[in-house]
Amino acid sequence: MDTFMSEVITSPTRPRWRKVAYGGMQPGFDDNHTDDSFLEEMVMNANVVKRDILKVMLDTVSISQYLCIVALVGLVWTYTLRSILNENSLLLLDVTLLGLGFLVLLLTKEMLSFNLFLRYLLNISFFISGLYVLAPIYQTLTTSISSNSIWAVTVALLVLHLFLHDYFGSTVRAPGALHNPTLTSCISLNASVVASVFIASCLRSRLLVFAIMLFSLQVFLFAPLVTYCIKKYSFRLHLWFSFGLMIATLAFVYTLHLLLFVMLLGLLIFVTVVCPYWLIRMQVYKFEINGPWDEAKLCFDITD
């Protein structure tokens, strides 16, 4: 123990403080000595991206586009429940949408081979026949539940669906997509499917049930894929398509109910204008700290 203090300081100035832990107490310095080099290796806000408001606003167009799509689905449900749309028009709508969707996929995907196309067709036909066979079951699902509760549950499920939806990619994966679907995107997809089933169960005729189920599932399962393909193909086309969709939706909702129109308009403005501005304002508070105490990141991927 005497060896620790055995360094005799012959020079008038004490030795420099060193950032080391060995050798006991450094002579001339207390253990709580804070050197000038304290925190000198700290790096602040190294990875923070400077955001541009115009780009953020353009990115929010995907969100408002999807909101409009969901609003249109709700609109079709309301018209069907009020018997404004009958089976034939619904079936026509379904076939049109299916055809349009396939057309968009064909035009925008670089490599859609004939085999893949046949496989899609086969899957779609299985899907449609399955729905047709199961339609009587949906019809009798909620006979004992009042229609108010059904609407309440449907709205709640749709809100959950919108909240957890993956606006960046698409849950139904196109071959060659980069990201696997996450847990939240699967939950949101399930919520929308359950909401469709609830609404379908309110209807009386079996064919109507089949038609509305087909319509809802088509939109919820494949609309994200179609919009993703459009966005990947050309951003300009995506912007034009979104604006057209928004105008059409607003026009339809206006004819339905004024309050809903005002709410939808308010929501779209909030998402497109207010949120980007708020996000940019909040970036000032970002405080990212990095330094030698960080856990090291492995530079290679762990393949199990």
Binding site: M1, T3, F4, K19, V20, A21, Y22, G23, G24, M25, D30, D31, N32, T34, F38, L39, E41, M42, E288, I289, G291, P292, W293, D294, E295, A296, L298, C299, F300, I302, D304
Partner: protein, 448 residues
């Protein structure tokens, strides 16, 4: 220095014997050295399986195994006020003057420090780990740490990097944080009596095989080194979730005769494994202070380690070769280590370690911290609450509420269980048996 005051210290942590680890050994050795300096030390921790109640360890170290089971990663269930009665009883029975908590990740430590402050005792906290700032778990942990350290008298960190990290996380003024490193029991970690021959070089790895300790780096480094150097052998001790990956690597490159997997190594066997090697390899991704490196250096092994956290401060440059946590860089470092191996003398390294690290020195420096802590002024409740309010807009008010309820509960307890009814333990001094070692493996004398 004048007459040294005799302190009566309560060490609190969720981590203690019979578990073995950095924090556990630190508390044990520090307590033993403080006892030798003449202070009184009592340890409080939770019950381990059926080990519950009061036990006595070497040197008269009294340990209270409070009868609560751990519920998550060795931590007791946080009940906020549930520990107040038992902590108060222990503090009054043993006439404690100072409470010393260990490890930010220990719920028992935070609760005990909170109650000790409410009752007016001085409090010292030692932080043993590094934490990040970005993920959800770290953010909450840092807030809890801010709460505990808002009122601590002094704080101790085990390395300078750890001090920077703690100051940033908790907002403490840097003058309040002392840097006192861990040490190693050089009497237990002696080099091999005969020097190993160097025609075959043995590299030893002893660590938990988890992601944090860089087991994935080992999977990349070992085959490369075995390929470059036909006379190198690996001994891997330790167990964990990544052991499967290492076994697979062994099978894939057919290294069964060159890589030996020992499984979990008991703490008492660590030295016998270390002395079979020439080089010690540490690949952790984050370390506040790596005691494993000290043990290896004390046994005369040359260390190769990743340059993370507090590791660069631990050993002088001629006893360690540092590398970036990158497989190619580590292979280069091993290459350099093999080339300087002929110049290494294990006995000389061991003797140097005896000078560089010593638990008695750590105890003396800790004593200085205790003296400083006891000099801090007492404050009444209102002034203390104002310090909590500065912790955050919402958190500050929440912390104040917690402390006020604790204060009220304490007063209630004082009426219900008056201090006069708690019997104080008489002091007794065990005659120090200088021949018995103070290593934790041969010390448990429990009075049943």
């Amino acid at each position: 220095m004048g007459e040294r005051k005799r302190h009566r210290i309560l060490m609190v942590s969720d981590f203690f014997y019979p578990n073995f680890g950095g924090v556990e050994n630190h508390i044990y050795y520090l307590s033993q050295c403080l006892l030798k300096l003449g202070h009184k030390v009592v340890v409080m921790t939770h019950a381990y399986q059926n080990r519950s109640g009061v036990r006595y360890m070497t040197g008269g170290l009294k340990v209270y195994y409070v009868p609560w089971r751990p519920f998550l990663m060795q931590n007791t269930f946080p009940t906020f006020y549930g520990t107040l009665p038992i902590v108060r009883t222990i503090l009054l029975r043993e006439k404690i003057s100072l409470v010393h908590g260990h490890q930010a990740f220990s719920t028992l430590c935070h609760e005990a420090l909170m109650h000790a402050r409410t009752m007016g005792y001085k409090v010292v906290f030692t932080d043993h780990s590094l934490y990040g700032f970005a993920d959800a778990g770290s953010i909450h942990m840092n807030k809890v740490l801010q709460f505990t350290l808002a009122e601590v008298s002094q704080a101790i960190c085990v390395s300078h990097t750890s001090k920077e990290n703690t100051v940033l996380r908790s907002g403490l003024p840097p003058e309040k944080v002392f840097v006192i490193p861990n040490a190693v029991d050089t009497a237990m970690f002696k080099p091999a009596p005969t020097r190993l021959s160097r025609h075959e070089i043995v590299i030893v790895v002893i660590s938990r095989l988890v992601y944090r300790k860089g087991a994935d780096l080992l999977v990349e480094v070992i085959p490369e080194v075995c390929r470059l150097y036909p006379n190198v052998r690996f001994i891997v001790g330790g167990d964990g979730p990544k052991r499967v990956r290492l076994e697979e690597m062994r099978e894939k490159h057919s290294l069964q005769d060159r890589v030996e997997m020992l499984g979990a190594v008991q703490h008492s066997q660590v030295r016998s494994v270390l002395i079979t090697g020439h080089i010690f390899l540490n690949s952790s991704l984050t370390e506040a202070f790596c005691i494993a490196i000290l043990e290896a250096a004390s046994c005369g092994l040359l260390t190769v380690s990743t340059r993370v956290g507090g590791v660069p401060e631990v050993l002088p440059d001629d006893m360690v070769v540092l590398a970036k946590p990158d497989p190619s860089d580590m292979v280069q470092a091993i290459k350099k280590a093999i080339s300087i191996l002929p110049n290494i003398d294990p006995e000389e390294m061991h003797n140097r370690m005896k000078e560089l690290y010593n638990w008695h020195d750590v105890a003396k420096r800790t004593e200085i911290v205790y003296d400083r802590a006891l000099k801090c002024s007492n404050q009444n409740l209102i002034k203390r609450l104002s310090r909590y309010l500065s912790c955050g807009a919402w958190a500050g008010k929440l912390f104040c509420l917690v402390m006020i309820i604790d204060f009220l509960f304490w007063h209630l307890l004082q009426r219900w269980q008056p201090a006069e009814d708690i019997e104080e333990v008489p002091d007794f001094v065990l005659s120090h048996d200088q021949d018995a070692g103070i290593s934790p493996d041969n010390k448990n004398q429990s009075f049943r």
